[in-house]
């Protein structure tokens, strides 16, 4: 199809990235899953194809500048201009005070969540700018907006929100839109693993939301799908919470008696 959109999802093999890849493919996009995890990527690819969608897998570690550069070059050579970039590759951290974090962990999380996202944007913006067309969607977090005991992960997600706003202003004159979503705790494989290990409590996470439901990747994917569609053509520079009301619930519930 000549006018099929090409959507790249970093970290698209699992979690929110997988949800976004499935939803975009369901909407008719050709989806490129860029991820380090080949096994998960292949399983997501199979699910997309089984649903009648189209997707390909390109191995890529966003923490490696050269791989990112090659990724975008290869995609555009093989498939044509990228219309949508969804920056979903990310790592979590466990809650702890700052002095208990190791700088190795800090560097690893920062290299993917902040620097990796930055490099992906830096590779795609000249292309989109020149074509005067494109959408970038970043995965921020509720920790972008409020304090959590996540001194490594949290500020990095605040930085994602700040970069989203800067790039939206910078690229607006070229009709390129840049937005983010801010999910609360979402039932992704790393969260599920922590719940299974007894480190997190499913019911307590749900009780933190105004609407007491567990956020699923497909819920986040719907917000992403809308923001990346032409229906949102007047929306740029926003960070949309997709959180079952987490953000408003915490202070409301904490009102002292």
């Amino acid at each position: 199809m000549a006018d099929q959109r090409i959507t790249v999802v970093t970290g698209g093999a699992s979690g929110i990235g997988r949800g976004a890849a499935m939803r975009q493919a369901g909407g008719g996009d050709l989806v490129v899953i860029a991820d380090i995890n080949q096994a998960d990527a292949e399983s997501t690819l199979a699910d997309i194809v089984a649903d009648g969608g189209q997707a390909v897998f390109k191995p890529c570690d966003v923490a490696d500048d050269a791989q990112v550069s090659e990724l975008f070059e290869a995609i555009e050579q093989d498939h044509g201009p990228i219309d949508v970039l969804i920056n979903s590759a990310g790592l979590l951290q466990n809650p702890m005070p700052i002095e208990e974090t190791t700088m190795d962990d800090y560097d690893r999380v920062h290299a993917v969540n902040v620097r990796g996202l930055y490099v992906c944007c830096r590779e795609i913006t000249p292309r989109m700018r020149e074509r005067r067309r494109g959408v970038i969607l970043n995965i921020a977090s509720n920790t972008s907006l409020r304090a959590f005991p996540l001194p490594t992960y949290g500020p990095g997600k605040s930085a994602v929100m700040a970069l989203t706003e800067i790039l939206a202003a910078e690229l607006g004159p070229y009709y390129v839109r840049v937005n983010a979503v801010a999910p609360t705790a979402c039932l992704t494989p790393p969260l599920q693993a922590r719940i299974d290990a007894g480190e997190r409590d499913y019911d307590m996470i749900v009780a933190n939301n105004a609407i007491p439901r567990m956020l699923l990747p497909e819920d986040v994917a719907e917000g992403i799908f809308f923001l990346c569609s032409d229906r949102a053509k007047a929306i740029t520079g926003v960070t949309l919470p997709v959180d079952y009301g987490w953000q408003v619930w915490l202070s409301y519930r904490a009102y002292p008696s």
Binding site: G223, K233, P241, G245, W249
Partner: protein, 257 residues
């Protein structure tokens, strides 16, 4: 149709409300318009019905508690439970300093733009809570997010955003969602009149937007359509700017040498 959604939109005889009404009709909702514009409202309904849609008009003055309560009683009596309620009725003010702007005008702005929203929410919330189902959408404003030289309108819209968050928390446990949309500079017929009269200038509004355009009424309607749909079931308590990037472009472009 037994499961046709019933959507109520205040101030929808014309402008953004009317466009939103038409969007919801297109999505197969039955739409009830409440407005003070008795000369325009019935005509809007007539054109919707002529095109095969389902709509009704009622006189509603959101500044009058009796009118609001009577309206909601009557609508539910005539059409059944309200599924979606959009608080769109609002008035603008001229850009004047605090001492220049008469208190009578100040009170009028607050009565319509905030107290009217409060009254309508107060009347519809218990019904939605009892049914454990419903969505409320409020028209906030870019001016409610940042301070602009409209000393009544801007704080009133900030109050709408605050109320949206409080009600989202209050109603979340009842599965009722509450969100707001913050339009930027919208190209309404009323705004076009002001351009024609030389009171406002389109050039400056366009220059302030990252995307270099004005928000169209349809853009706002699409945002409400998404937020009020089940695809946004995980989204409550948010305020979504639909501003062509004015929020991000204003500081970005103001960066001094």
């Amino acid at each position: 149709m037994a499961d046709q959604r019933l959507t109520v939109i205040t101030g929808a005889a014309r402008g953004i409300g009317e466009t939103t009404a038409r969007r919801f009709v297109k999505g197969d909702d039955k739409v009830v318009i409440g407005d003070v514009l008795d000369d325009v409202g019935p005509e809007t309904v007539a054109t919707i019905e002529a095109a095969g849609g389902s709509a009704a008009y009622y006189t509603l003055d959101v500044t009058d508690e009796t009118s609001v309560n009577g309206f909601i009683d009557q609508v539910e009596q005539d059409h059944g439970p309200i599924d979606v309620f959009i608080n769109n009725a609002g008035i603008m003010q001229d850009g004047l300093t605090i001492e220049e702007f008469p208190m009578a005008d100040h009170d009028r702005v607050w009565n319509v733009d905030y107290r009217g929203v409060y009254l309508c929410c107060r009347a519809v919330v218990p019904r939605m809570k009892a049914r454990k189902q419903g969505v409320i959408g409020n028209v906030a404003s870019l001016f409610g997010i940042r301070p602009y030289a409209v000393t009544a309108y801007s704080p009133a819209k900030t109050a709408v955003i605050a109320l949206t968050q409080i009600l989202a928390a209050e109603c979340g446990p009842y599965n009722v969602r509450v969100n707001s949309v913050s339009p930027g500079y919208v190209h309404t017929p009323q705004m076009q009149d002001r351009f024609d009269q030389g009171i406002r200038k389109m050039d400056t509004m366009v220059k302030d937007a990252a995307l270099g355009c004005m928000t169209e009424m349809q853009d706002v309607a699409e945002a409400f359509w998404f937020l009020c749909s089940d695809r946004a079931k995980a989204i409550t308590g948010t305020n979504l700017p639909v501003d062509c990037g004015v929020l991000v472009a204003t500081p970005y472009n103001a960066y001094p040498k």
